[in-house]
């Protein structure tokens, strides 16, 4: 009786407690990562503020560094302009060839041109919020799609990796794209054959990590990166992107390469979900 009266008196708070409990349990089960240890809990909460203060400090330090770099950049800029003219001429030829290639591929039909059995699907939506990079497509389990299937797309006549299937509904599926922080792909540099792990960090940026430091001299800007096929998830040889920046930190034993994806995710309309076995 007293319980009922208490509930009637504090209805919003009781319901709020119920909702929060449900959400926390769902989060715990979904992430399998429920933290109950007080030390980790404290670390997690306070490290958040620590990160904030560290970000502010690095901002000022990096600004001072940037001013020094600016002077050097001016000299590089003049030299780069000369090279640019040369490359522009090459690019015109390349664009012409790419356009020709693209139209030929369309005629041949992309789907049949792929090396693996595939299910073509259309992009019907993206993440309703800004914390994740979800892509939703119009095919689900009814079309034979299963979780973790690799997803590719073709743009400008080139086939590139989009990501993998994250969740499957009956008539729709969500795809975890390369740039999502939860995405990990075993990769290889096409020319030098060195391996690494490609990981998204959000913000349309993908990084290739764990590339041995001593191979720095063998890596060039623009080198292509492909899937290595080391895990069974992604077949080998699918293009991921090209090397944009090389970070070699003094304290780190491996290199970190910033990768420019082959696929422009903002223009994605159609994707191909692959079966791992070849045709």
């Amino acid at each position: 009786m007293r319980g009922k009266r208490f509930f009637a008196k504090h209805k919003p708070e009781s319901l709020l407690f119920g909702y929060i409990l449900f959400c926390l349990l769902a989060l715990g089960f979904s992430t399998k990562n429920l933290i109950l240890k007080p030390k980790e809990l404290g670390l997690s909460v306070f490290a958040l503020f620590q990160r904030g203060s560290s970000a502010v400090t690095s901002f000022f330090v990096e600004t001072a560094g940037s001013i020094r770099v600016l002077g050097r950049l001016k000299q590089d800029y003049a030299a780069a302009l000369e090279r640019l003219e040369h490359y522009e001429r090459i690019e015109k030829d390349l664009q012409h060839l790419e356009e020709e290639n693209r139209s030929l591929k369309e005629v041949l039909a992309f789907s049949r041109g792929l090396e693996y059995r595939n299910i073509p699907a259309r992009v019907i939506g993206k993440d309703p919020q800004n914390y994740h990079s979800t892509i939703t497509v119009n095919k689900g389990s009814a079309a034979g799609i299963r979780k973790n299937m690799p997803v590719v797309a073709i743009q400008e006549g080139r086939q590139g990796l989009v990501g993998k299937v994250a969740d499957v509904g009956l008539t729709a599926s969500t795809i975890r794209p390369l740039q999502d922080p939860g995405s990990f792909v075993a990769a290889r540099l096409l020319q030098s054959r060195y391996e690494g792990l490609v990981n998204g960090v959000g913000d349309d940026t993908i990084l290739m990590r764990y590339v041995r430091r001593y191979v720095r001299a063998n890596i060039r800007y623009g080198d292509l990166v492909v899937t290595s096929g080391m895990n069974s998830l992604f077949p080998p040889g699918i293009y991921i992107g090209s090397v944009k920046t090389i970070h070699a930190r003094d304290y780190d034993t491996s290199l970190e390469l910033e990768i420019e994806p082959i696929i422009d995710f903002a223009r994605l309309e159609y994707v191909y979900i692959l079966w791992s076995e070849e045709k």
């Binding site: 709020l16 959400c23 939506g125 914390y131």
Partner: protein, 165 residues
């Protein structure tokens, strides 16, 4: 009935967020229309309505997103509950109050998302608490709030009534 109508309107806004709003995204950031709906309807109908609407709307977002189930649901439940306190206290005018309330809700959302991400080790990428994306989202939400609130006022079935006394 009012709650179901509110959930239906919020669901439509979430669908817009995941489709057409990506065409008018600023630096890849879409505005959070459902957040505005939760704030407005919680202000009109109180805490109970706000938190239930937030819970339902957040769950829909969880289903459509890579986020673990319960992530957006918890954020929106909290915002709905807190915004519900403004019922009968804050009168929503045309510009200032919608912008202020939506701005505050955006800050609460970012902080709560940061805490949840830290507690459950969620990979949020650059959309965490200390990021320019969060600032753009809050700014975008503030700019759109007078328009969205004005549109929500047009729906007769969302008119406030005695619900949460």
């Amino acid at each position: 009935m009012l709650l179901f109508a509110s959930i239906a309107v919020t669901a439509v806004l979430i669908l817009l967020q995941s489709t057409v709003m990506h065409y008018i995204a600023i630096c890849g950031v879409v505005p959070d229309l459902s957040l505005m709906a939760v704030v407005y309807l919680a202000n009109q109908n109180g805490r109970l309505h706000g938190q239930s609407l937030g819970f339902a709307g957040g769950l829909i977002e969880d289903f459509l997103s890579l986020a673990p189930l319960g992530f957006h649901a918890l954020l929106k439940t909290l915002i709905g509950y807190l915004a519900g306190f403004s019922r009968g206290v804050v009168f929503i005018g045309a510009f200032l109050m919608p912008m202020l309330m939506v701005g505050l809700a955006g800050i609460v959302k970012a902080l709560a998302a940061g805490i949840l991400a830290a507690l459950f080790s969620l990979p949020l990428g650059s959309g965490g608490v200390f990021s320019w994306k969060t600032l753009i989202e809050i700014g975008y939400n503030i700019a759109l709030s007078p328009v969205v609130f004005a549109l929500l006022r047009l729906f007769p079935f969302l008119k406030p009534r005695e619900f949460d006394r």
